[in-house]
């Protein structure tokens, strides 16, 4: 079975016919073509597919697209504004919070979600917010630095 899904995707209204069992992850990657959201595991283990649904981090691999009727979904592709990186993107780039880059969209979306609800998190709050994302390259040290730096940029006026 399927239905017409209407949602706000990266700030634009969008309508698609989707099967009831279609995962949000597959909707984004295979139907819309937004491949910035990554698949890193067989379901709910790694956080690479994290997106924001109404500003809250959500694993798109455990979410049915059809449940998002009328909701606001933001992916990694939505963050840059007018060709400039957002605060979190800049943090991950400049502080080397990203090496191979594969977990990066998930980490960045989880971090953006954190800064949207808590603009100046301490280190423990950063660790807690990113506790369900796995990175295999960095050892997380520079990811923490990246989020701290992003919070500073955000405080200075940059969008998260």
């Amino acid at each position: 079975m399927g239905r017409l899904l209407e949602l706000m995707l990266n700030g634009r209204p969008r309508t698609d016919a989707v099967a009831d069992n279609l995962l949000l992850l597959d909707y984004l990657r295979e139907i819309v073509g937004l491949t910035g959201t990554k698949t890193g595991c067989d379901g709910g283990e790694c956080g690479a597919c994290t997106v924001l649904v109404d500003d809250r981090p959500r694993l798109s691999c455990l979410t049915l697209a059809a449940t998002l009727q009328g909701r606001r979904v933001d992916t990694i592709e939505s963050l840059a504004r007018d060709g400039r990186l957002s605060a979190v993107q800049r943090g991950f780039h400049e502080k080397l919070g990203s090496q191979c880059g594969y977990c990066t969209p998930g980490f960045i979306m989880a971090s953006a979600g954190l800064l949207r609800r808590n603009p100046s998190p301490n280190e423990n709050e950063i660790r807690a917010a990113l506790g369900s994302n796995i990175c295999r390259c960095t050892g997380y040290v520079k990811i923490i630095e990246a989020v701290k730096y992003a919070a500073e940029l955000h405080a200075a006026g940059a969008s998260p």
Partner: protein, 773 residues
């Protein structure tokens, strides 16, 4: 007026030049290459560990509407493998299956759901054979041979004795022997394996995009497996989500995708899942080590005897090299003379092992640094003083003929001793807290390539055209370590140009020069040197053009990057003016830089395989780990790590720090929680919850000290930075636990279960003694 000066590009903190793509979601990885009409590939895998194949029945699957191609072992009788002397693996099993999960057949269909249904219709008939899941079981004389050409299931026996261990142990004041077991671990890089193979039947050409560390090997193996001329094959490496060694070898994933694409006459996207990525494996083998050391009262090591068994899995893979590294790399860190090594690489009915970060050196280093710590304790010597008593003096050659030109280990040791407050804090933290220390080292590229063709080890080309942009062409595979950035930095440094002028093109065999790939930490050293040579050639061309235009001699020309001038009073020419002049006679300029290792670095001939371990430069690392042990739960927390790494010269301090922190942390995973476990050959840890990778909440601050020993052959003095710091974490952790609670762990990983059991055992023994008293 601001004086123009050449841009400086090395030695500072430089974000990766491909970072903006990665943080914006624009970076394309293999699975992201979605095209209309492409087929979905899936693999049917053996449910048996060891069996003779009687029949693979695909008739019903072929009848399923939407199925476009099915291939089985019957379609390819050719073998592949990373070592030319051990290519014994079929992309799809023929005659026998040798591990649970080995590919037997594969389907290409119009969509994934159809491919999945077709897989369910394939029938495999077999005659089961006895299966062996440990090295010991496979070595039993009555065991049947997993491969006919490897009698007794021994992939490789290694034996050497350099000096006399009998005499060495005779000279010792203390001789101790211990056994160690390190569980098998897997790279578990974030990107699951993927390949997109596109066969053009009209022109008989194959294009393969693959998540690989060595596109060149993929190219060679595709030609071999597909029986196609290499000129008809194009291999592209898109962005790659990590590798850590498992993608050094060509994997069955890309070969099967290509077989399907050729059969279907179309484009096949093969994306295997996390469990299949674990099964494809190529991780670090389970290793059993018996180590015996002789020590004098002054801390000098008098003899080393080491016996090492590796459970290699069902195919040869890198096995011969891994078991040789484990022996050869006993050397080149301390001044050792009487050394005996017995190594056995064993074939078993488990997924094939491969080259994992720190290839061959990690488990041996764990044993060595553990026993050294234990013996230092027994002799009441400071573990750091014991290391100091055994330093090498560079330049030197080791007893097994390894060339050591730069040796920053003493500075690494001094740095961590100072930074951690070792002298004041060691043994005095109390409350089940402790400090542990250890050292490690690694090569900067294997001095002999796997495929010896006589070509240079690395070739880099630079193109300069009317637009004045510098285009660096290299086959070096950036897998997240930052090699593309290093290439831009080295070229920019020689030419004095800002990175904004420099573009780096990599990863497409149609365009870039061949490269031996990203393994054994070779890229910065070898490709970096080739890039420097190419940049010097280009600079010479530009200086000569400027000299012509300015009517001066080339040696009078001063290159300031954006300005070329003939003396300080001269207003000079802009870079674009020099380019225009340089292009007048030849048009588009291309220059080439090459690099080859020197014969003295190729290792010796004192035993069979003694070339393994030879390199142009060894990196060195020292670590102090601070732990807290909860004796009621067995949970060990790492509170802090201090690590110093001798990388010769940090071309990019940001990426050096990132590589060193990542290495230390990966060592932590192996030491504390990671293990691939099997039940009768069935992988039972094939996901990221059961294969327990440390999360951000488990992971400590890691403070990095960079030591620069300026290697005489390194690019601007640089050596490797991405592997050498992994190994020291493991023994530094167990040494710290011994310091904290007085219990020594010789088996990895040190899980809370093991700690709890050991603490309980000690408690009971203690209570028993109390009662007896």
């Amino acid at each position: 007026m601001n004086e123009t000066v050449p841009a400086r590009n090395i030695g500072s903190y430089v974000p990766m030049i491909d970072g903006p793509e990665k943080v914006s979601g624009r970076a394309k990885y293999t699975a992201d290459l979605i095209a209309p009409g492409m087929l979905a590939g899936r693999i049917y895998r053996s449910p048996y560990s060891h069996a003779e194949i009687l029949e693979v029945d695909i008739a019903e699957a072929l009848r399923l509407p939407g199925v476009k191609a099915i291939v089985t072992g019957a379609d390819c009788d050719r073998t592949f493998g990373v070592l030319p002397i051990a290519r014994s693996e079929h992309p799809l099993a023929r005659d026998k299956v040798r591990y649970r999960g080995e590919p037997v057949a594969a389907v290409a269909a119009i969509d994934d759901a159809t491919a999945k249904r077709a897989i369910g219709l394939i029938r495999l008939k077999v005659r089961e054979l006895p299966a062996y899941y440990t090295a010991q079981a496979a070595l039993v004389p009555a065991a049947c041979n997993i491969h006919a050409h490897r009698p007794g299931n021994v992939e490789r026996d290694v034996l050497f004795e350099l000096g006399s261990v009998e005499q060495g142990f005779g000279d010792a004041d203390l001789v101790r022997e211990a056994s160690y077991n390190c569980a098998e671990v897997c790279q578990n890089q974030m990107e699951m394996h993927a390949a997109v193979a596109d066969y053009d039947r009209e022109r008989a050409r194959m294009t393969v995009h693959a998540s690989t560390q060595v596109p060149y090997y993929v190219h060679l193996m595709l030609a071999q497996i597909l029986d196609m001329d290499m000129s008809r094959i194009r291999v592209v490496k898109p962005h790659v989500g990590g590798g850590f060694g498992c993608r050094t070898e060509t994997l069955n994933v890309e070969l099967i995708a290509a077989l399907l694409a050729k059969r279907a006459g179309g484009c096949v996207r093969m994306m295997i899942n996390r469990e299949e990525t674990f099964i494809t494996h190529r991780g670090r083998p389970e290793t059993d080590i018996r180590l015996k050391l002789g020590l004098r009262r002054d801390g000098r090591i008098t003899a080393v005897e080491c016996e090492c068994y590796q459970r290699g899995g069902a195919h040869s893979g890198y096995g011969i090299v891994t078991i040789l590294y484990a022996g050869s790399m006993l050397y080149a860190i301390y001044d050792l003379h009487n050394v005996k090594y017995i190594g056995k690489r064993v074939l078993t009915n488990t997924p094939p092992c491969g080259a994992f970060r720190g290839h061959g050196t990690v488990d041996i280093r764990f044993a060595f640094e553990s026993l050294l710590d234990q013996m230092a304790h027994e002799l009441e010597l400071d573990p750091i003083a014991v290391r100091r008593a055994n330093y090498l003096t560079a330049p030197t050659f080791t007893d097994n003929d390894l060339m050591v030109n730069s040796y920053g280990l003493p500075e690494c040791v001094d740095w961590v001793e100072r930074a951690s407050g070792w002298k004041a804090r060691k043994g005095r933290l109390g409350n089940a807290k402790g400090l542990g220390f250890a050292c490690s080292h690694y090569i900067s590229g294997a001095s002999k390539p796997v495929n010896w063709t006589g070509e240079p080890h690395a070739t880099v080309k630079i193109k300069l055209d009317f637009d004045g942009s510098i285009v660096v062409l290299s086959g070096a595979a950036d897998i997240g370590q930052g090699s593309t950035t290093i290439l831009a930095q080295t070229v920019g440094e020689v030419l004095g140009l800002d990175l904004a002028r420099i573009r780096v093109l990599t990863g497409d065999s149609e365009v870039v020069p061949k490269d031996n790939g990203s393994y054994s930490s070779r890229v910065t050293f070898m490709v970096g040197n080739a890039a420097i040579e190419a940049a010097h050639h280009l600079r010479r061309v530009l200086v000569e053009a400027a000299a012509r235009k300015l009517e001066a001699k080339p040696e009078e020309i001063e290159c300031l990057g954006e300005i070329y001038r003939a003396g300080a009073q001269d207003k000079g020419l802009t870079f674009n003016e020099v380019v225009t002049e340089a292009l007048r006679d030849t048009g588009t300029i291309t220059v080439t830089g090459n690099y080859s290792t020197i014969p003295q670095s190729h290792g010796g001939k004192k035993y069979r395989g003694a070339a393994i371990g030879g390199t142009m430069g060894y990196s060195y690392s020292a670590q102090v780990v601070e732990v807290r042990v909860d004796e009621d739960t067995g949970v060990v927390s790492v509170d802090k790590v201090w690590v110093a790494h001798d990388c010769g010269k940090a071309l990019n301090r940001l990426t050096v720090e990132g590589q060193v922190q990542g290495s230390v942390w990966m060592g932590m995973g192996q030491a504390m929680s990671e293990e691939t476990a099997y039940h009768d050959g069935l992988l039972i840890t094939g996901n990221m919850l059961d294969y327990r990778v440390p999360t951000i909440e488990d992971s400590p601050p890691i403070e990095v000290g960079i030591v620069e020993s300026n290697d005489p052959h390194g690019p601007f003095g640089a050596k490797e930075a991405g592997e050498g710091s992994l190994a020291a974490f493991l023994p530094a952790l167990t040494n710290a636990i011994a310091d904290a609670i007085g219990v020594r762990f010789n088996d990895l990983p040190v899980t809370p279960d093991r700690v709890f059991a050991a603490v309980e055992k000690r408690r009971r023994a203690h209570n028993g003694r109390s009662r007896a008293a």
